[in-house]
Symmetry: C2
Subunit: 246 residues, 2 copies
Amino acid sequence: MSFIRNILNSRSQGDGNFFLQLKDILGFKPKAKSFYIKAFTHRSMNLKDELGNAINYERLEFVGDAMLSSVIAAYLFDKVPHGDEGYLTKMRSKVVSREHLNKLGQELNLIDLVQSRIPTSNFGDNIHGNLFEALVGAIYLDKGYNTCEKFIFKRVINPHVDIEMLEGKVISYKSLLIEWCQKEKNTFNYEVYEDTGNDELKHFSVKLSINDKVVSKARATSKKKAEEKASKRAFFAFQNQISKLQ
Amino acid sequence: MSFIRNILNSRSQGDGNFFLQLKDILGFKPKAKSFYIKAFTHRSMNLKDELGNAINYERLEFVGDAMLSSVIAAYLFDKVPHGDEGYLTKMRSKVVSREHLNKLGQELNLIDLVQSRIPTSNFGDNIHGNLFEALVGAIYLDKGYNTCEKFIFKRVINPHVDIEMLEGKVISYKSLLIEWCQKEKNTFNYEVYEDTGNDELKHFSVKLSINDKVVSKARATSKKKAEEKASKRAFFAFQNQISKLQ
């Protein structure tokens, strides 16, 4: 334990912001800090505990991957009552695809927190997803299943999982909305502007007006995403009217 | 809901023992009974809910499989600190192998609880494991992760998961014990007798004596298993002495 404490201290001194940044990402204060230290330690650091076991995030990925699979399995079981086992498995693999996990890790800028002897610019894309899985593993081991489930809802399911989209029923809410406007002879306008706010990353904001009245707003890291998000919000607001279209 | 209630009633009338038998297997009283009804309904029953969705255990297998994976992942992470991600994955697949899940389902006689239009004798071996997975899924949905974890510890990990065995370090406790006895010039004797007790299945009991003193007892469904179990118990009792052997 004193060994872990030493790493923890060196980490805290070397990077005073680590636990502050982490708290922002997690939405709660980490308790068993050593799990999070591990979750952001790359194997190139060559750290070992007193028994000679490697300290890095790779084993935590195994736990995080399992927790993501479970939480998403239970969610899909509930939300897709018509899907059989094979269909649910396919839907889940879309949600936890390597590409999607990489995006999730990238969005949270997890790579900024990594301790590594190799410059992070040398890593491929997969490190983002691996760090995301390891973080989920650390949350489970620190706080248990329920907190881990909440985190997965907050960071994966609520912002990114759209059952209609996953089922391929809706490819784009924007096209659906435009189709409806044209049919109903409504005018529409997407007003897009750059809106970086307090973020380091460039963001775009969109105001969507129908018949010259603003009906929804959204903000995202690309114009396309912001328009899609605003369209989706409008779609759900007008759902009853739009569903008659289909 | 009234539909589910109807199935539930028909089940309860047709098979008054169902929930009693289930309570024995679970170790607690089921609350949301409809999940367990589903977990023991074969697709040949052709049941559908009011929305036309199939009622059978297949979707529950998806949830149960995920929960088994998670609980066992967290367990192995803790118990095998030297194993990397790949090693842990391999160990887990031994625990949740089709063959092992089939044995677990068979041990609990889950097939006796199934409602099916096809005679259960026509099913292959996999139905045992499928029912076990579905039952785990039902427990999760009824009672949440912690109860589900407890059930997996009680029925899978505690009686069947032996890290030393999984790692291939110990192939047989019986041979280890005999080796030790021979080296230490101790006499040993396995006294085996049939002991069916209240079970329908044939069982065997073993008394293991070393130097004419009974050191352990065990009971299992085969002679070999009972001897192995008794040897393991003796092994852990004599661990300090035996470890000098190795």
